[in-house]
C-alpha cells in the first residue's frame, strides 16, 4: 500500500499500463502539452496533471497531443481499437461529449453488437466532469447518466484513489468500451492504494459505511458528501449504509437491494439533474424489486432541473450537499 491522491493513482495506472502493454496509447488535447512551443513537449504533462511524465517515457507515437478536435480524438480511438490497440482518449471536460457524441453513442457503443460480436473495441474514454469550480454551464456537467443509458458502454466513476487505480486498470484489461468519469474536485483526494496489478471488477459496489438504519446510494463526489451527512446523523444515533456503486453500467443491483431490505429506507444522491438520472434509476429499481421492504418513500437528492450556474452562490445551491442529504435521511425516518 502507498498513500496517494486520485490524480497520482490515475497517472500511475497509465504508466503501468503503457509499460505492460505496448498497444495502450493515450490521445487528447494537451495530454503532453507544449507541442510546437519553445517550452517543448512535456512542459505541462496534461492540464489535469494525470498524464505527467508519460511522453518522456513512451514518446509522441504513444502519447498523442491532438488538435482541438474531439470527434477526431474519439473517432480515432475507435478506429485504433478496432485495429487492435487499446486507446485511452481524454476529454478534458465531460461536457465535450456534446462535440463527439456520434463516435461515442453510434459508433463505439454499437460495434460489438452490430458486427455480430466479432468486433472488439476496448476504448477507454476519460471524462473529467462535475461542478464545484465555478466553471459554469458548459464545463461542469455530470453526464454519466447520459452514457449509462447507452447499451454497449460501460461507465465507471471512482471516488477513492484505490478505486481510481482498480477500475481504470480493469478497464485497460477488458474488451469493452469504458467511459471513465473523473471528478475534477476529487483529484486531490488522498487514500491508500494497493501496489501491483490491482483491479476492481465492474458491477460491484464499495460499501463506504455500514450503519443499518438508512441506505444512502451516492455517486462519485456525492459519496464524500453522504459521509459528512452520515457523521452528523451518527451524533443522533442514526446509522447509515453508504453505498458507492463505482460503476453505473453494470450496476450492482443486488448489493443495493440487500441493503434496502435491511434498512427499509433509501436515499439516492446524484449530481445529475433529476429527470432520467441515476437517482430516478436506482429508485425505480428499488420500487420494482424491493417494494415490500420499504418503510418510507425513497428520497432523491439531486441537482435541480437547470443548467449549472456560474456564480458561487448559485452553484452552491445547485450542487447537492450534506445538509440536503441529512434532511432527506431524516424525512425517511420521520415518515408515517
Amino acid at each position: 500500500m502507498s498513500v496517494m491522491n486520485i490524480r497520482e493513482a490515475i497517472n500511475q495506472t497509465l504508466h503501468d499500463a503503457m509499460e505492460r502493454d505496448p498497444s495502450v496509447i493515450l490521445l487528447g488535447e494537451d495530454v503532453a502539452g507544449g507541442a510546437g512551443t519553445a517550452g517543448g513537449q512535456e512542459a505541462i504533462g496534461g492540464i489535469w496533471g494525470t498524464s505527467t511524465g508519460l511522453i518522456g517515457k513512451f514518446g509522441p507515437d504513444r502519447v498523442i497531443d491532438t488538435p482541438i478536435s474531439e470527434s477526431a480524438i474519439v473517432g480515432a480511438a475507435a478506429g485504433a481499437a478496432l485495429a487492435g490497440m487499446r486507446p485511452v482518449a481524454e476529454l478534458m471536460f465531460a461536457d465535450f461529449i456534446g462535440v463527439c457524441g456520434d463516435q461515442l453513442i453510434n459508433q463505439i457503443a454499437k460495434f460489438r453488437y452490430m458486427f455480430g460480436g466479432k468486433a472488439r473495441c476496448p476504448v477507454v474514454v476519460r471524462l473529467i466532469y462535475g461542478a464545484g469550480m465555478n466553471s459554469a454551464a458548459q464545463h461542469s456537467q455530470a453526464f454519466y447518466n447520459l452514457l449509462t443509458a447507452i447499451p454497449g458502454l460501460k461507465v465507471a466513476m471512482p471516488s477513492t484513489p484505490a478505486d481510481a487505480k482498480g477500475l481504470l486498470n480493469e478497464a485497460l484489461h477488458g474488451d469493452d468500451p469504458v467511459m471513465f468519469f473523473e471528478h475534477k474536485a476529487l483529484y486531490g483526494k488522498k487514500g491508500e492504494v494497493p501496489e501491483g496489478d490491482y483491479r476492481v471488477p465492474f458491477g460491484h459496489v464499495r460499501m463506504a459505511r455500514e450503519g443499518g438504519d438508512v441506505t444512502i446510494v451516492a455517486f462519485g463526489r456525492m459519496v464524500s458528501f453522504a459521509e459528512k451527512a452520515a457523521d452528523k446523523l451518527a451524533e443522533d444515533g442514526i446509522g447509515c449504509d453508504i453505498i458507492d456503486p463505482r460503476t453505473t453500467s453494470p450496476l450492482d443491483e443486488e448489493a443495493i437491494l440487500d441493503s434496502v431490505e435491511q434498512t427499509g429506507r433509501l436515499v439516492v444522491v446524484d449530481e445529475c439533474p433529476p429527470r432520467c438520472g441515476l437517482a430516478a434509476d436506482v429508485t425505480a429499481l428499488v420500487a420494482q424489486k424491493a417494494f415490500t421492504s420499504l418503510d418510507a418513500p425513497p428520497e432523491c437528492v439531486t441537482a435541480p432541473h437547470t443548467p449549472v450556474p456560474f456564480s458561487p452562490e448559485l452553484e452552491r445551491a445547485y450542487v447537492p450537499g450534506p445538509p440536503a442529504i441529512e434532511a432527506a435521511v431524516r424525512r425517511t425516518l420521520d415518515w408515517g
Binding site: G34, T37, P304, T306, S311
Partner: protein, 323 residues
C-alpha cells in the same frame, strides 16, 4: 485610407478599455476576488476593435471563451460585464454565465462560448437571418488557431460557401491553443486563411496587433461581403499577453517572450506611435483617454464589488421561456 479624428479616438478608447479591463482583472483574480476560469484578451485588442469598429448593432458577432475584448468592442456595457465576471445578480447575464458566457443579443453580441468551435456554425445561421433581413448586414464568428481545427468550423465554412450567406470567419491566430503551439496543431503550415480559400471563399490576412492593418483589411472584406452576400474569412496574426487562463504557469513560453511581445507587438503602443506622427491626435489627448478609461474601470470594479449577489432561489429562473 481616410480616418476621422472621432473615429480614431473611439477606436483607441475601445482598445484602451479592453487593455485596462483585462489588466485590472489580472490583479483582482490574483487576490482571489473572482470565481471560475478567466481567459484574458490583452494583446489582441487591435483584432476585436479593428473588426467591430466597422459594425453597428444590426451586425452580429459570435465570440469565444476569450470574449471580453469582443464584448467591449461590440459595445457591451462595461459595468454589466464586470458585474457578470464577479458573479453578481446585476451582471449582464445575472451572474449565471460568468466570464466565458457574456452576451447581449440586443446589440448583436450573440455570446461568448465555452465550447471551442461552437461559434462558427452559429454565425452561419445568423448570416442566414442577416441575408433574410436584406439590409446588408453580416454575421461574424471569431475563432482561434485552436478552434480552426474543429470539424464544426470546417462544416460552417463549407456550408456558408454552399448556401451563400454573409458569414465572416475571423481567425485570431495568437499562436497558442492552451499549451500547444500553432506550429504543431495547424496542419496547413501556419496558415489558416488558406483553409477558408480551400472552401471557396475569399480570405484576407492582416496584422492583428495593428489597428490600421486589421481595420483596413476589414474595410475591404466588408465591402465585398455586404455587396455580394457571400462569405469571407480573415486571419489576424496576433498575440496574447497573459496565460491561457489566469493561473496558467506558461511553461511553454520562451524565456522573455512576453516582455518581447509587449515591447514589439503592443497594439496600443503602435497606435500611439503612428497616431501621433501620422494623424491629428496628440499624446495629451490619448493620455486623457487612458485616464478616463482608468476611472471607468475603477468605478466598474467598485460597483461590481458592491453589487447585489444572487439568491439561491434564482438558480431556477430562466431555464425556459415557459414551462
Amino acid at each position: 485610407m481616410q480616418y476621422s479624428k472621432d473615429g480614431l479616438l473611439r477606436a483607441y478608447r475601445r482598445m484602451a478599455t479592453i487593455r485596462q479591463f483585462e489588466e485590472r482583472l489580472h490583479e483582482e483574480i490574483a487576490k482571489g476576488e473572482i470565481p471560475g476560469f478567466t481567459h484574458l484578451y490583452a494583446g489582441q485588442e487591435a483584432a476585436a476593435v479593428g473588426v467591430c469598429e466597422h459594425l453597428d448593432s444590426d451586425d452580429m458577432i459570435v465570440s469565444t471563451h476569450r470574449g471580453h475584448g469582443h464584448c467591449i468592442a461590440k459595445g457591451c456595457d462595461v459595468d454589466g460585464m464586470m458585474k457578470e465576471i464577479y458573479g453578481s445578480r446585476e451582471g449582464l447575464c445575472k451572474g449565471r454565465g460568468g466570464s466565458m458566457h457574456i452576451a447581449d443579443t440586443s446589440i448583436g453580441m450573440l455570446g461568448a462560448n465555452g465550447i471551442v468551435g461552437a461559434g462558427a456554425p452559429q454565425a452561419v445561421g445568423a448570416a442566414i437571418a442577416a441575408k433574410a433581413a436584406g439590409k446588408g448586414k453580416v454575421a461574424i464568428a471569431f475563432s482561434g488557431d485552436g478552434a480552426c481545427n474543429q470539424g464544426t468550423t470546417f462544416e460552417a465554412m463549407n456550408m456558408a460557401a454552399v448556401i451563400k450567406v454573409p458569414a465572416i470567419f475571423v481567425f485570431e491566430n495568437n499562436h497558442y491553443s492552451e499549451h500547444t503551439g500553432d506550429a504543431y496543431a495547424v496542419g496547413t503550415a501556419l496558415d489558416i486563411a488558406s483553409r477558408a480559400e480551400a472552401f471557396g471563399m475569399r480570405a484576407w490576412r492582416a496584422n492583428g496587433c495593428d489597428f490600421y492593418s486589421t481595420f483596413e483589411a476589414m474595410a475591404e472584406l466588408l465591402d465585398y461581403v455586404r455587396s455580394t452576400n457571400l462569405p469571407a474569412a480573415i486571419e489576424l496574426d496576433t498575440e496574447r499577453f497573459y496565460g491561457h487562463f489566469e493561473g496558467d504557469p506558461q511553461r511553454y513560453r520562451a524565456k522573455g517572450e512576453v516582455a518581447r511581445l509587449r515591447e514589439e507587438r503592443d497594439a496600443l503602443k503602435s497606435f500611439r506611435a503612428s497616431a501621433v506622427t501620422k494623424t491629428y491626435l496628440s499624446t495629451d489627448e490619448l493620455d486623457a483617454l487612458d485616464a478616463a478609461v482608468g476611472e471607468e474601470i475603477d468605478r466598474a470594479v467598485e460597483a461590481a464589488r458592491k453589487a447585489e449577489r444572487p439568491d439561491p432561489s434564482h438558480v431556477l429562473e430562466d431555464v425556459y421561456a415557459s414551462y
